[in-house]
Structures are given as structure tokens and as C-alpha cells.
């Protein structure tokens, strides 16, 4: 097991290196250079050159690349063109909010979606299963911003019981009050994201439970005289979890897309909204930093997923 984890870490490191290299060069392919964008049209060409020099953009691409790698090793991601602050600081400000949103979304969707999927797969074809299925398909088909706006309109504007944006109310600090305030701000983005991801968990889990329930070893378990509850929750569910765990790993990577839309709609001060702003402002260093952080989290999630799968399925370890 230890060797397996080590091997996965090593692979992850290589993937990470390739990703950051690609990120660096792809961003340099963008048509405009930031100095032109930043500059006041009245400033002179000499001023522009000086600015490029300040950011190190006058040097050849390959030199830029190596200084980028060197800085990265020191944990520096450069200076934001727009905000003139270290990217690391900006991300450190935004990341906790995104993590809060992502983790609560993942945990709640898993806690609701997996048991729901297991049970509806077990009760395949019943009314319960059909209702769950219909709701899941509906959830999968929803366009995120539309759902976001609708929820905002109903709960934020019409009923006015939930805040219309942000992650907290400025001024409230510390203690239970702050905690509740953050929770209140979290509800609508959470529901929006859940609506999309819940369906994935339910449908994948349901599908693999249906597969597993027709396996011979389920019949064996019954023939041994196991209680039906044990057949479902011990023999079937654990075996059905492998595809779900894999899906969860992939989904966390895909969540970024959902986060950009959701955070923008709800003016949530997270990484997603930061990416949206950085794209519209051509702020390379921020985008670069954001992509590196995202790549890192996807790679880590993949390693966690693989290790979890190996734990869940003893057949994986050997190969």
C-alpha cells in the first residue's frame, strides 16, 4: 500500500509539472500584453517599455519561464498586474471561501446523494426510484446561473430572508453571530451547486448498485441467510462505491466550472469569481496562480481517489 501511494505521488508530481508548464505558455499566447492595457494612452512608449521591464516581460519567453519556476519553488506566484499585490496573498484571501463552499457542497451532496442512490437502486422501478430519478434528471439539466438568479429573486428579493450576495456581512465579527451570518450567505450558492452535483452522485451510485445487486455474490450473501439490510449496506454498497468514488474525484475537478458561475452570480468572494475578473482584466499572474492552485487540488483529489479506490477494492492494489 505504501509503495502504491508513493507511486501515485510521483506520478502526481510529474502531472503537476506538465500542467504548470502548459499553463505558463498558454497564457502567454493571449493576444494583448498587460502593459498596453494598464497604460494610460497619454503615457509615452518609453514609459511602456519601463513598465514591461518592471514586470520582467521584456525578457525572452524561456527566461521568463525559468524565473517563473524559480519563484514557484519559493512559493511566489508573482505580482498581480491590476492590484499590484502578490498573487499568493490574493489567493490566500479567496481560497478559504471557495474551499468552504466546495467542501460543504461535496459533503452535503455525498451525504444525501449516496444513500439516496443506493436506496433507489435497491428499490429499482418503484415509485420512490422513479421520483428520485425524475428529480435527478431535472437537476442535471438545470443551467447554473438561471437557478442562481431564480433563487436570488425568490429568497433574496421577494421574500428577502436571505442575503443577495457576498460571503459575510461586513461589521459582524467573531462568535456565533459571525458563524450564522456566514452560514446564511452560504445557503443559496450551496443549494445551486447541490442541485447540479446531487444528480451525479444519485445516478452513478444508483447505476452501480443496480449492477452489483445482480452479482452472484449478492445471491451468495442471501443464500448464507444474511439479513437483507446487511446484504444491501455491507455486501452491495461497498462494492458499488468504487465507481462513485472515482466520479467524486472527477467531479471535484469539474466543480471549478460551477464555482466560476456560481460565485459570480452570488458575488461570492472566492477563487471562481477571482478567475472571472482576472480573465476580463487580462491579469496573467492571477490566472496563472489560480490555475496552478486548481491543478494542484485536482491532482491531490485524484491521488486521494486512487488511494481510496485501492482501499475499497483489494483487487486494485496488486496491479
Amino acid at each position: 500500500m505504501g509503495r502504491y501511494v508513493l507511486k501515485r505521488l510521483y506520478k502526481g508530481l510529474i502531472t503537476f509539472f506538465i500542467t504548470i508548464t502548459l499553463t505558463f505558455f498558454i497564457l502567454r499566447l493571449m493576444p494583448a500584453d498587460p502593459a498596453t492595457l494598464l497604460m494610460d494612452p497619454r503615457m509615452s512608449e518609453a514609459h511602456r517599455q519601463q513598465m514591461l521591464q518592471e514586470f520582467g516581460l521584456d525578457k525572452p519567453l524561456i527566461v521568463q519561464y525559468f524565473s517563473f519556476l524559480k519563484n514557484l519553488l519559493k512559493g511566489e506566484l508573482g505580482i498581480s498586474f491590476m492590484q499590484k499585490r502578490p498573487v499568493m496573498d490574493i489567493i490566500a484571501e479567496k481560497l478559504p471561501w471557495t474551499l468552504l463552499l466546495m467542501i460543504t457542497t461535496q459533503v452535503t451532496t455525498m451525504l444525501i446523494g449516496i444513500p439516496l442512490g443506493i436506496y433507489s437502486g435497491y428499490k429499482r422501478g418503484t415509485l420512490f426510484d422513479q421520483i428520485v430519478n425524475a428529480v435527478a434528471i431535472f437537476g442535471i439539466s438545470i443551467f447554473v446561473p438561471w437557478l442562481g438568479f431564480t433563487l436570488l429573486y425568490i429568497f433574496g428579493y421577494n421574500l428577502a430572508i436571505l442575503p443577495v450576495g457576498g460571503a459575510y456581512t461586513p461589521g459582524i465579527e467573531g462568535g456565533l453571530k459571525y458563524f450564522l451570518d456566514v452560514g446564511k450567505h452560504l445557503i443559496l450558492p450551496l443549494i445551486t451547486l447541490m442541485a447540479i452535483y446531487l444528480a451525479n452522485y444519485v445516478l452513478y451510485t444508483r447505476g452501480s448498485v443496480i449492477d452489483v445487486m445482480s452479482e452472484d455474490y449478492i445471491r451468495t450473501a442471501r443464500s448464507k441467510g444474511m439479513k437483507e439490510r446487511r446484504v444491501l449496506w455491507k455486501h452491495a454498497s461497498k462494492n458499488a462505491m468504487v465507481p462513485t468514488v472515482t466520479t467524486a474525484g472527477l467531479m471535484i475537478g469539474r466543480m471549478v466550472g460551477g464555482a466560476v458561475l456560481t460565485e459570480t452570480v452570488f458575488a461570492y468572494p472566492g477563487v471562481g469569481r477571482m478567475i472571472y475578473q482576472a480573465v476580463s482584466q487580462q491579469d496573467f499572474p492571477i490566472l496563472q496562480g489560480a490555475f496552478i492552485i486548481l491543478a494542484l487540488s485536482v491532482i491531490i483529489m485524484n491521488i486521494v481517489t486512487d488511494v481510496l479506490c485501492a482501499y475499497l477494492d483489494p483487487r486494485i492494489k496488486l496491479n
Partner: protein, 320 residues
């Protein structure tokens, strides 16, 4: 001999629905099967694929629900008991499956798989139960240390030994073996068959041995039931069946057994066509479409199982 099980008019119909708008069709997998099972004997159940032999085996253990009919275990009708009562009943009758790999949970070590029913039925305390699993493993010819291995780490023959140990764990009276050797190499088949025989001599199990390989069945069985399209067409002692088969289908089967003597040329009876689908009801005798002794009555009247001095056969030739 003590009768430990009696199956009366057992039927298992499956409803087929090909598409949303097509008519429902009924597949008669097991149609009106009756037989008795005596303590310590081996009843062979033979037939082609689709003859309903596996379904019969599963249905008498209530692993599939019978459509109608009764199953008596020591005189008690078990065909409609449920829940905790049925769970208790499972102790007495176990099944060994055709595919030993698929029938073991890949997430459990084989020790856990064998241990689970012992604990669940509260037969032994956990420490004694683990020792019992070690004993069982040795009994079926496996090392006790295999307890901690997973099913994928075994060869086919070893897996079937695990399957047997698992079935023995509850000390059942009846063991239904559903083609337990057909997935194994011929050399391994012999070992497993001998294991079956040894275990029966040692513990007096009653076997229902399902197979399509007649030489395997001949070696193990005391009595044999020949099935065709969900029906028993012949039921008699092994010697009687091999020396004096009555039903044309059995005669054809017997003629298909290879004889290990190149000079002995026996005429084989080649049956035309395949076994018809059990979803299409046939008027008259179900075997009539392939029978080489077909008479007019055969396609009109469905023959009954008649008893000729303890040799049961379902064929118009023998009815007066």
C-alpha cells in the same frame, strides 16, 4: 430411507417484456416439477441449458421465489415462509454456485466470507468461529493461512474449494451444487468431485447435483432426474437410467456419452435442432419437435409422468 425434502408441483414462471408496447410473454422455466429427496443421497439433475435445472435448484432453496407449488422440508412447507423464519431455514440448505469467483464478495477475505454466516446465525462465539473457519479450510484442502487472502488471489479450483467451505460453514443438511465443476479444468474437476464424495461419506450430506456432464453425474449420483424444457422427463436410479433409459431424450443423451474405446462403434442419435424456447408454449409433448420416435398423439396430448416400477418417465410410448 428418510425423506428430507419433497417438492410438489413446483412452477417458476418468468414474465418477459421485450419492449414498452409488446405483449407480456411468460417463460416457463420450471413447469410442474415434483420429486423427493432422501437423506444422504445424491440426486443428479441433468439437462441442456435452458432446461430449467438451475432454476429448479435455486427455487427449492428459495433463492428465487416459486410461482406456485410446495417445498416440504421435513414435512414443513417452506414455500411461503418469509423473513426471520426463512433466514433460519437457510442454515439447513446451502448452495454451491457454478462460478466460484463471481459468487465470492471481492471485498472480503475468504475467511470473512466463510465466517460471516457462522456469526450471523449465532452458531459459535467469534473466537471459536474463526477456529471453525480454519478447520473448514483444511477440510476442503486449503491452508488455514488462506483465511486472509482475497478471492482474486486464488486459482479456479481453489475458489471452488472456498465455495464449498462456505457452504459447509452452516452445517447444512442439503447442499445444492449448481454445475460446480463446469467452470474448472478437467484435472481439477476430478479433485473437486472427489472432495464432494469424501465430504458426503464423512458427514452424510444430501446433494442435489446439477450438471450437464453425464459422466460427472454418473459418478456421483444415486438417482437422476432428466429435465427438458422445465419438466422432468425421466426420474430413476442411476443404474436404471444408464442401462435402460426409457425416454427418447434420455436415450439420445446416453448415446452421446463418449466411450473410451476406439473400436467400439456405437450408433449415436443426433437430435435435430435446438431446444425450443421455453417462452413459446408447445402443444402436446414438449420434446415432440425433436423426437425420433414421434407419433401422432405426441403433438396433440401432453404426456403425464408415469411410474413403471419406480422408474418415472414422461412419454406416450409407455402409456396404455
Amino acid at each position: 430411507m428418510e425423506k428430507i425434502m419433497e417438492v410438489v408441483n413446483l412452477k417458476k414462471y418468468f414474465t418477459l417484456k421485450d419492449s414498452l408496447f409488446s405483449r407480456k410473454r411468460v417463460l416457463r422455466a420450471v413447469d410442474d416439477v415434483s420429486f423427493e429427496l432422501y437423506k444422504g443421497e445424491t440426486l443428479g439433475l441433468v439437462g441442456e441449458s435452458g432446461s430449467g435445472k438451475s432454476t429448479t435448484g435455486r427455487t427449492i432453496l428459495r433463492l428465487t421465489e416459486p410461482t406456485s407449488g410446495q417445498i416440504f422440508y421435513h414435512g414443513q412447507d417452506i414455500s411461503n415462509i418469509n423473513g426471520e423464519k426463512m433466514r433460519e431455514m437457510r442454515k439447513n440448505m446451502q448452495m454451491i454456485f457454478q462460478d466460484p469467483y463471481a459468487s465470492l464478495n471481492p471485498r472480503m477475505t475468504i475467511g470473512e466470507s466463510i465466517l460471516e454466516p457462522i456469526l450471523s446465525h449465532g452458531l459459535l462465539e467469534s473466537k471459536e468461529a474463526v477456529n471453525r473457519v480454519f478447520e473448514l479450510l483444511e477440510l476442503v484442502g486449503l491452508d488455514a493461512e488462506y483465511y486472509y487472502r482475497y478471492p482474486h488471489q486464488f486459482s479456479g479450483g481453489q475458489r471452488q474449494r472456498v465455495g464449498i467451505a462456505r457452504a459447509l460453514a452452516l452445517k447444512p443438511e442439503i447442499i445444492v451444487a449448481d454445475e460446480p465443476v463446469s467452470a474448472l479444468d478437467v484435472s481439477v474437476q476430478a479433485q473437486i468431485i472427489n472432495l464432494f464424495k469424501d465430504l458426503q461419506e464423512k458427514f452424510g450430506f444430501t446433494y442435489v447435483f446439477i450438471a450437464h456432464d453425464l459422466s460427472v453425474v454418473k459418478y456421483l449420483s444415486d438417482r437422476i432426474a432428466v429435465m427438458y424444457l422445465g419438466e422432468i422427463v425421466e426420474l430413476c436410479s442411476k443404474d436404471e437410467l444408464f442401462n435402460n433409459p426409457l425416454h427418447p431424450y434420455s436415450i439420445a443423451l446416453m448415446s452421446a456419452i463418449p466411450v473410451p474405446n476406439p473400436r467400439r462403434k456405437e450408433k449415436r442419435i443426433i437430435l435435430e435442432g435446438d431446444i425450443p424456447s421455453p417462452a413459446n408454449p408447445i402443444k402436446g409433448c414438449r420434446f415432440s419437435s425433436r423426437c425420433f420416435k414421434k407419433k401422432d398423439i405426441c403433438s396433440e396430448v401432453h404426456p403425464q409422468l408415469i411410474d413403471i416400477n419406480g422408474h418415472k418417465v414422461r412419454c406416450h410410448q409407455y402409456s396404455q
